[in-house]
Subunit: 333 residues, 2 copies
Amino acid sequence: MGVSLRDVADLAGVSVKTVSNVVNGYAHVAPATRAKVEEALSRLDYRPNLSARNLRRGRTGVIALALPELDAPYFAELSRFVIDAAAEQRWLVVIEQTDGSLERERQILDGVRDHRVDGLILSPIAIGADELAARTDETALVLLGERIHDGPADHVAIDNVRAARDVTEHLIGLGRTRVAALGAQDSAVSGTAPLRLAGYREALAAHGLPETVVRVERYRRADGAAAMAGLLTGGDRPDAVFCFNDLLALGALRAILSRGLRVPEDIALAGLDDIEDGRYSTPTLTTVAPDKAELARIAVDLLRRRIDGRSGHAPQEVRAGYRLMARESTLGR
Amino acid sequence: MGVSLRDVADLAGVSVKTVSNVVNGYAHVAPATRAKVEEALSRLDYRPNLSARNLRRGRTGVIALALPELDAPYFAELSRFVIDAAAEQRWLVVIEQTDGSLERERQILDGVRDHRVDGLILSPIAIGADELAARTDETALVLLGERIHDGPADHVAIDNVRAARDVTEHLIGLGRTRVAALGAQDSAVSGTAPLRLAGYREALAAHGLPETVVRVERYRRADGAAAMAGLLTGGDRPDAVFCFNDLLALGALRAILSRGLRVPEDIALAGLDDIEDGRYSTPTLTTVAPDKAELARIAVDLLRRRIDGRSGHAPQEVRAGYRLMARESTLGR
DNA sequence: CAACGTTGTTCCAACGTTGTAAACAGGGGC
DNA sequence: GCCCCTGTTTACAACGTTGGAACAACGTTG
């Protein structure tokens, strides 16, 4: 093994505890002693053994971030911010991928128990509020990016309903009347899809326009392309499409362009997430930009409070900001 | 704290060590005893405390993956595979982001996080072979995606020179004669850029064609767009461009299209990495597809060997496979 | 100058686990 | 009936750390 407190203590000619005190910044250490110890510390290049420290303190200094898939750009971008925010608390972040499967989400929620992590930030897809409420484990938990009403855990997200309504209003504001929604899901118990759908419906209802809703299995480019292709072969072609995330929109864009139609002239297109790809597509993609840094910061902050002291008992519900980013895909004709 | 071996032992009426033996699958435990213990284990829902186990065993069960930035799609996709491959070894993966800064790479190599991780997979950008060789830390290390000749550590990558030559040959094969390379770098001591540049040069030289090399600061879409814009305002417009990664290519694509030029009719375009974005851009992007799953698997495997037993002493150099993916951006005219 | 408080340091125990070695029980061979 | 062997179980120590009690040294106060 490496250098231990005992080694340092021997070299400095003091007790192990004194070295520990120096390392931990305990106040009452004589300057001379402190100097001796610090000299020894740096001579030996001492690094605390964190397994031991954690065993003693009952903490691991590691939190888990569980999300559907790391290679979806939105989650990759979000992870980056979470890692950075966690680094400020001197936490390491391990990433778990659920693939959106209920199985995996259960497993992770459950497996958090083997004391490997102090807390968990979960971006749930499949699991329901009731099941979450029923969990016995007491590990700190923060839900990210989904709204489980009156949920059993702290939760941070943007206002999905309002964001969806804003985008839809934007499309309607262009003068489009056949506005489709792409990205509804059958399975999602409590995901964001129903919320975005609700926002879409609110906007259409407010203008007395008819709904067209297309379902998808997952939220990848391929799903967007396939769904869009279906929409284009149908009789009544939409003149605007709100995709529930940017990947779907980019897939849809591809499907539209490859059929010789134009965006935005023939079909205006908008997404949600503001992934970087959408800023460089042709045309660039109108979208909603959640404040990812804020989401991450809040999530880590909530987790810190839960871990530190019981931060009040009632689960908190925090909203992060977002901005509508109008780009080429919804320019007026 | 949670349930410990002692609790289980008390309930089962045996010693702590016997419970430990059952948990660890030790052979010589009487069936009756084993049954009793297992009953108690499940009654109490025992989970081993990994801090304690790791302290005892001198392992943490965690490896670090250090890469420039998680939100570059290539690294996000790669991370996914690394996490999956590590999961098979029952390792958790913590991700560190270097932002390609020498500072951060040093910091990570040196402080490999105290004793927090058993090994490190590093995708280096800035650090040089000499400095790597000089490192004192003995944590297992595998380099990923870069070729440091006769390096001091295990290393896995695709054959960047050959891959770059293949792409360039492909462009030349279309009948293009003014083939530019986009993505050279001044700073990189030993990055992939010089290797890709070398491959490009080999191909051009073989056909007696002139070189055009454009440098970039970093490998993001914005850099590709800016560099391409520069290339287009110059006098002698290229009729084909090999970008050193897909992000650069997508940025370049945007720059070309926004000037009213066509791809591939006016300019054929190819990248390298095979990120998903390039499969859905319009036109779709010709690229080299490194076998990311294989890269990850090999990296984890090399690391496992280093960690387990001293796996021979000579650093290994392993090549992963790749495929040229010809897509719309290089269709014949 | 004795009692006392303050400051600095050490000793001991404990966190939960597992390797080592020793103790123990039962069975077979003499 | 004794001994040894095998199989099973246990006691103990140790991994490196830190909280708390104990203790030593010192200066202050009555």
